[in-house]
Amino acid sequence: MDTTVLLICGAPNERCWKLAFLRAAPNVSLRVVESATESQAYLSGVNAYADRAGYPMPRLILVDLDAAQGTGFELLEWLKAQPDLMQIPVFVLTSARESSDVDQAYALGARSCLLRSMGQKAARDLAKGIEAYAGLLMPDVGQAARA
């Protein structure tokens, strides 16, 4: 079963997440984009992402606030204005315990903010949890959006 998860994450953490999902969440088809602009193109199915067979709508969107090149909030704001994408849950990943970013993320519609401890083990645990969660979402959550 293909469970596509879209991760918005820049270079600093990209390798760590890819490795974690590869090892701990084999049923997740992880698609990684680097910026809000790129993720908007992916979710809108335009430019390089026009082929939905190659770039399926995700069941879940992950935003790595630490490594989204400062565009994580930009994406959350854009998502909030897209009613047809509202059914796709957005989880925010962060290693910062400071409240301001987390509060802002919730205010912008993030369903859950996940505290990421340092190290591969913590990343694998989260990947495992995300695989379990994404597998429980209705298969048509992503497909119905922008159909």
Partner: protein, 302 residues
């Protein structure tokens, strides 16, 4: 205790940021007594710091037990204790205190225990359907300041359910306004306050969309279960319904955090997460959890 200024989430804007705890203290549950009632240390109550606890309950036995533990702890420490509750609850709490070996009548005669009626006290400061700041200050505020000054180093703790009267009458914004007034009083006078809301933790009302403001207004949520009963019941139900996915999901739920909220025990945090993120499964999981939780409650009562 250091009070850092923290930006507030949108729904938490009515809570003065200086009255919240540093975020690093909100990431774990501290000082839980076996009853599930957080222990309030002397240190926490000095230097202008305060603790603002909240209890959600459906079972009157749970309320009576947790509140009487909280009140009894204050009497044991020599604190002055104020209860603002309905007649039925005041009787239940004093009855429980008596079974714990306290002498409520004597404590009342000595001025160490003060019982006030929630409805009458509330009526003393409401105006046009909202708590009036000036009236609140002149009634509840004046009483708390007087008792706090008289208590000195021994400290003061209060229990109140006026917010619940407002909430259950459908006046949630008035309840939030009253919580904000309490927070101002708490911040200025350094005492502890326990509020209770008659809200079923397993019911549909117990969800983030409804309770975000209440959770932002408090520092700690007191578990509705004793000895991890509630957490155990929820975890067992998740395993029964979700099978092999349960383990991974628990890792995800554990990593979820919201610094603007009160410290939330894991059982209640899991319920809130399920309602928000897995609504298609939440009803079934929580119906099962309710069953085993009630069984354990009956077992504890016997």
């Amino acid at each position: 205790m250091d009070m850092k200024l923290k930006p507030a989430a949108k729904k938490c804007e009515n809570i003065p940021s200086g009255q919240r705890e540093p975020s690093d203290q909100r990431c774990k549950i501290r000082g839980m007594a076996t009853s599930g009632t957080p222990v309030v240390s002397k240190r926490q109550e000095k230097g202008g710091s305060h603790t603002h606890l909240v209890q959600f309950y459906d079972d009157e036995r749970v309320l009576a037990k947790n509140v009487s533990h909280y009140l009894g702890e204050g009497l044991r420490r020599g604190e002055t204790v104020v209860v603002i509750a309905t007649r039925g609850h005041r009787d239940a709490f004093t009855g429980e205190l008596a079974t714990q070996g306290f002498e409520p009548a004597e404590a009342m005669r000595e001025g160490r225990l003060l019982l006030l009626d929630a409805g009458e006290t509330l009526a003393g400061f409401m105006a046009d359907g909202q708590p009036d700041r000036e009236r609140f200050e002149n009634t509840v505020g004046a009483l708390i300041r007087k008792l706090r000054a008289e208590a000195g180093d021994e400290g003061l703790r209060a229990y109140g359910e006026m917010v619940d009267l407002l909430w259950n009458a459908g006046h949630s914004s008035a309840a939030m306004r009253l919580e904000a007034l309490w927070n101002e009083l708490l911040g200025a006078n350094g005492f502890s306050l326990l509020c209770a809301y008659q809200i079923d933790v397993f019911g549909k009302e117990f969800q983030i969309g409804v309770l975000d403001g209440v959770l932002c207004a408090h520092t700690h949520l007191v578990s509705a279960g004793a000895n991890g009963d509630l957490e155990g019941a929820v975890n067992d139900a998740i395993e029964q319904v979700l099978g092999s996915r349960a383990k991974g999901l628990k890792l995800l739920i554990k990593a979820n955090f919201r610094p603007a909220w009160a410290v939330v025990p894991q059982g209640e945090a899991t319920v809130l997460w399920l309602r928000n993120n897995l609504p298609d499964y939440a009803d079934e999981i929580l119906a099962r959890a309710r069953g085993s939780y009630q069984t354990s409650l009956s077992g504890n009562a016997n």
